[in-house]
Symmetry: C2
Subunit: 147 residues, 2 copies
DNA sequence: CTAGATGCTAGACCGAGGTCTAGGTCAACG
DNA sequence: CGTTGACCTAGACCTCGGTCTAGCATCTAG
């Protein structure tokens, strides 16, 4: 392939997406630049396309829905003049990620406690089911609702 | 409701799940103890059930599939003797979360770069599209005239 | 007593995000 | 030449995790 263009198969290999998914993404408007085609209608991806797709993969992995990526792509495709909107979109996702990290840490705390508890249980011999420990009148943690 | 038993609606309120979802979770075997019923067949949740559900919510929020929660619930329901398996399951999810956090950080890095770049762009006046830094969209026309 | 919440079950429906198939084109290889 | 493999489109199909409806029973307040 001249000029560094890549076939869909090659792009699949280096993005980790399936060729099916690549075509889906294109249909859904996730690409920020139209994919070229060769003489017989086959897709030819530029290095820039691949780079963009790699970003898409990260966005997806961090929970950005296809529609949002599509909107971003649309803005980029539209060219200059909408930078503020792109920035807003990115900031929103930034916040979303931060929130996710907080939730993950929250769950991780819980799991760490349970894991430690089971490890104790297993190495020290049975001392009661860690998941059925009676909770004596406990210090009010973040109770969901006072009641 | 005597002895602190809660109705499904009350549980929905304090777990943030819908009553539909609560019934779904029960059908799918996510509950580690069978929910009691009152005289006329209505569910009566114990404080422990609610606590367990709150954990389920965290598990879900951290990407644990229903089937996995179900398996964990099943183990807990089965009682002592399978602690090693529970621990294994928890450790697997621990790893999964850690991996997710890494991915999120990875995406966050990317976004931070882009955000910074757009901020510069916007405050300092247009200086080129931050998303087209390396490769201007020079889509060299796909040949339409014969070869 | 009656209305209006709230609950019950069974099962249909939905959106997101893929994944796969059918049927066809094309280029290269032995 | 025929076959093989990568590619094309259109569209069906699938899983996951809910969400909602129908039709009925029960509780509670006025």
């Amino acid at each position: 392939m001249a000029d560094g263009g890549l076939s869909i198969g090659q792009v699949a290999q280096r993005t980790g997406l399936s060729v099916h998914t690549l075509r889906l993404y294109e249909r859904e408007g996730l690409l920020a630049s139209e994919v070229r085609r060769d003489g017989s209608g086959r897709r030819v991806y530029s290095a820039w396309d691949v780079e963009w797709l790699a970003n898409c993969v990260k966005f997806r992995a961090s929970g950005m829905p296809l529609t949002t990526i599509s909107r971003l792509a649309q803005l980029v495709r539209a060219g200059s003049g909408n930078e503020a909107e792109r920035l807003e979109l990115l900031r929103a996702h930034q916040r979303h990620i931060t929130e996710q990290v907080a939730q993950l840490r929250d769950c991780l705390d819980l799991i760490n406690v349970k894991v430690a508890s089971y490890e104790r249980h297993l190495t020290a011999g049975a001392s009661g089911d860690p998941w059925h420990q009676q909770r004596p009148p406990a210090p009010q943690e973040h109770r969901i609702d006072g009641a």
